[in-house]
Symmetry: C2
Subunit: 190 residues, 2 copies
């Protein structure tokens, strides 16, 4: 998606050789017009797959997931939670997800009420790096015996191996901006 790549070049901030900071438009301050277009493009790529639910993880996956859902006839969005509120009194599926950026391991959960074996799930997130979040979300869906129909990503850092890991598990991955490398402050797209 050219507009997203252009925006990354214009407003992204490279830190070292592994991190590209896009918090001016994607995951702290949000450009909703851009996010809406990202949602439309991901919805197009996964059209006619019989998808029933969009699954993401709090927090920065949520705007994109909502935009995808909006372009798929208002499909329900579910965001996996990193902490169980005291109101989550029913059963839930859970797993552990490592964040390399935040240097944390989070236990994430989805209420059993909102995923079932009838569901065909599209997993959506802002970033794909090592693949930990996407693998964790897929595992949550599979605990519910739902079908994982695909994984839709805004920005993929291909050199961190996440998409390869996911494709080895036969998941379809679509990323709108695939970064091949970051070197000397310069971003190379695939």
């Amino acid at each position: 998606m050219q507009e997203l790549k252009d925006r990354i070049i214009k407003d992204g901030q490279v830190i070292g050789t592994e991190i590209i900071k896009v918090d001016s438009f994607l995951n702290h301050q949000i450009d909703v017009a851009l996010v809406f277009k990202i949602g439309k493009e991901l919805a197009n790529r996964f059209a006619n797959q019989g998808i029933t639910k969009i699954l993401t993880i709090e927090a920065s996956g949520i705007p994109i997931a909502c935009a995808v859902a909006w372009h798929m006839n208002n499909l329900p969005v579910i965001f996996a939670k990193k902490a169980a509120p005291s109101t989550m009194i029913d059963g839930f599926y859970n797993t552990e997800i490592t964040s390399f950026t935040k240097r944390t391991v989070s236990s994430v959960m989805v209420s059993k009420k909102y995923l079932s074996k009838e569901d065909h799930v599209l997993i959506v997130d802002d970033f794909l790096a090592h693949g930990e979040a996407a693998l964790g979300l897929a595992y949550l869906a599979e605990q519910a015996e739902a079908v994982v129909s695909g994984i839709g990503i805004a920005i993929e850092k291909e050199f961190q191996g996440g998409s390869e890991k996911l494709r080895q598990k036969c998941y379809r991955v679509e990323s709108l901006a695939v970064i091949k490398s970051i070197q000397n402050g310069h971003i190379t797209f695939k």
Copy 2:
């Protein structure tokens, strides 16, 4: 907003006398069509106030904030973060927010880059209970010397005193569904 009240009655789950669980459509699974309408209504109520930015807090305020922004000519949304990612290397405003539902105290932060004294900020959240989150967000905006133009809420539990606290500080509060009491499993709207 009648549609929201109807939905709370239909799908909300009362727990005791203080908690109404709406995770089937608002803050775990999300009905994006409803959220879009909530955003439209809040945008209408704060139209022509010269608002420049929408401020919310992760995670469940984000969909509504994006919907409001969409209906206000794509204003930027900023969501306050509960944990500083390793990429947040510049300065930030921060404060502590107590969550009565989650029984936690969170340190929340907003990068100094995204709020300034030129900003007129609309604070948006899914719930208003004791007012802690809204007060914390207002305090973040005020650290930047921004003007807090108002506070837009989907569901207010008036009996927990948050809106009174906020109005005593002269903030304009607009809530689309105001719950006066929850007794014997029955919700009474104002």
